[in-house]
């Protein structure tokens, strides 16, 4: 992720929402470190916070992250899904319903299949799906699981994903 945020430019305006599998007891020191290397402001989501352009949001540990139709965040403490809380599936499914075809779902390195169902839902709702090339991922299980389950729109190495995201958002900007 450090690489990703050092490469995304300052003017990347599309909001980014991240779910990473982290320990329930983790503090947010790692977010501070990430911010140092990043061109975009990165923060943990606050409850009921509105999603703003130009920001990067990270799901807090030990909560599931949901996105409301009015583009605010909700948190829940439901049972773990795919042994995870926050779960990627949970966030992706609510994001798919809130944003429909204005959503890009990206799956990077990971060691279980959390996110596969979520990516399917994103596709069902008209969104774009991008997966990190398993051959280039530190842990190929998660991206490979998505590719096995559906026809993903793009399979790319990390640099390729970043270039694509920049391109897409630039096109949007010029509309």
């Amino acid at each position: 992720m450090k690489i990703m945020f050092s490469l995304l430019p300052e003017n990347f305006s599309t909001p980014i929402i991240i779910v990473q599998h982290i320990s329930a007891h983790s503090d947010n020191q790692w977010i501070k470190l990430l911010n140092d290397k990043s061109n975009l402001p990165i923060k943990e989501t606050d409850e009921k916070e509105k999603i703003e352009r130009g920001n990067v949001y990270i799901a807090p540990p030990n909560y599931h992250l949901l996105i409301e139709k009015d583009k605010t965040f909700s948190l829940t403490i439901d049972e773990r899904v795919n042994y995870a809380r926050p779960s990627i599936d949970v966030m992706f499914e609510s994001a798919a319903e809130a944003y429909k075809n204005k959503l890009i779902g990206v799956i990077l390195t990971g060691s279980n299949n959390d996110g596969t169902k979520g990516m399917k839902r994103i596709q069902e709702c008209g969104g774009l799906t991008i997966v990190q090339d398993p051959a280039t991922a530190e842990s190929s299980y998660m991206p490979a699981s998505v590719i096995a389950a559906m026809q993903v729109d793009y399979v790319l190495p990390l640099n390729g994903i970043i270039a694509l995201l920049i391109k897409i958002t630039q096109l949007q900007f010029h509309k």
Partner: protein, 269 residues
């Protein structure tokens, strides 16, 4: 159109049973209802509505599905640490201490509070009101029986929160379960109270409502915060969950932050 069907289902639940989920977070309720639907084998939400109105067992199951909250003993140990350091000194100044644990679910956090009060030598002059609208959870909480498999995690939480005693001294083991000591249950009053529909029932010194408000939409949160404000003595303390705040409510200016990170607030005089 699922949103409309959900709206009608919640309206049916409210009108028939008086449980009001209409101002809960939409994404959360939708998720719970869809899971419930999947488990029930029904084809659509309108069928659920019909069943809710005619089949009490089904309605009861749905209510459980919509209200189960996952909880732990000493959840967020950092919070309990701060409670010991910042809140206990304030409580010590009162001759009698009244604590309201709102949305206590199956009671884990109420027992955690009892443990702390006992360790601080304050429990004999304390009453903990532990309330929830889920009668099943409340009955379970009153029994104080928990799964043995959770105790390892709870012991870690307890120790991280600054607990120095042997945690296993607070319960007796019985095969797969543990039962909390009678000495802890002694001053906890378990009562059915619905934050959405019920009103002030006591004036208290400390309110803990952690990770309950996250399920409510902004308007409902505001309403409940007003209820808490009206239930607290001047200078009383309000504790919220680690990602909850007063920021979007009308009550924001009425409190001072005692611990910003741990969401502990003191009501202004």
């Amino acid at each position: 159109m699922p949103e409309l069907e959900i709206s009608l289902l919640l309206e049916a639940v409210y009108q028939k049973y008086g449980y009001d989920f209409r101002q809960y977070s939409e994404a959360h309720i939708k998720r719970r209802i869809m899971n419930s639907k999947a488990m029930s084998g029904l084809e659509n939400i309108s069928q659920m509505q019909s069943k809710v109105l005619n089949d009490e067992a089904f309605a009861s199951k749905l209510l459980q599905d919509l209200s189960i909250t996952v909880t732990e003993m000493f959840r967020d140990p950092g919070f309990y640490k701060s409670l010991r350091e910042n809140v206990i000194p304030v409580l010590k100044t009162y001759p009698f201490i009244k604590i309201w644990h709102a949305g206590c679910s199956t009671g884990e956090e109420a027992y955690s509070m009892a443990i702390i009060m006992q360790e601080e030598g304050l429990y004999d002059r304390t009453t903990i009101y532990a309330t929830d609208f889920n009668q099943q959870a409340l009955s379970q909480a009153k029994e104080g029986i928990f799964s043995n498999s959770m105790m390892k995690e709870y012991t870690t939480n307890y120790q991280l929160s600054g607990g120095k005693e042997s945690f296993s001294g607070y319960y007796t083991s019985n095969y797969d379960n543990v039962i909390m000591n009678q000495s802890l249950k002694k001053n906890i009053v378990w009562a059915n109270h619905n934050l959405v529909t019920d009103s002030v029932f006591a004036e208290v010194h400390l309110i803990l409502c952690r990770n309950v408000l996250i399920y409510f939409d902004r308007n409902l949160q505001n309403k409940v915060q007003r209820l808490f404000y009206d239930s607290l003595v001047n200078g009383g303390i309000l504790c919220l969950g680690s990602k909850e705040s007063l920021r979007f409510t009308d009550l924001n200016e009425e409190y001072t932050e005692l611990d910003k990170k741990q969401r502990i607030f003191k009501k202004d005089y």
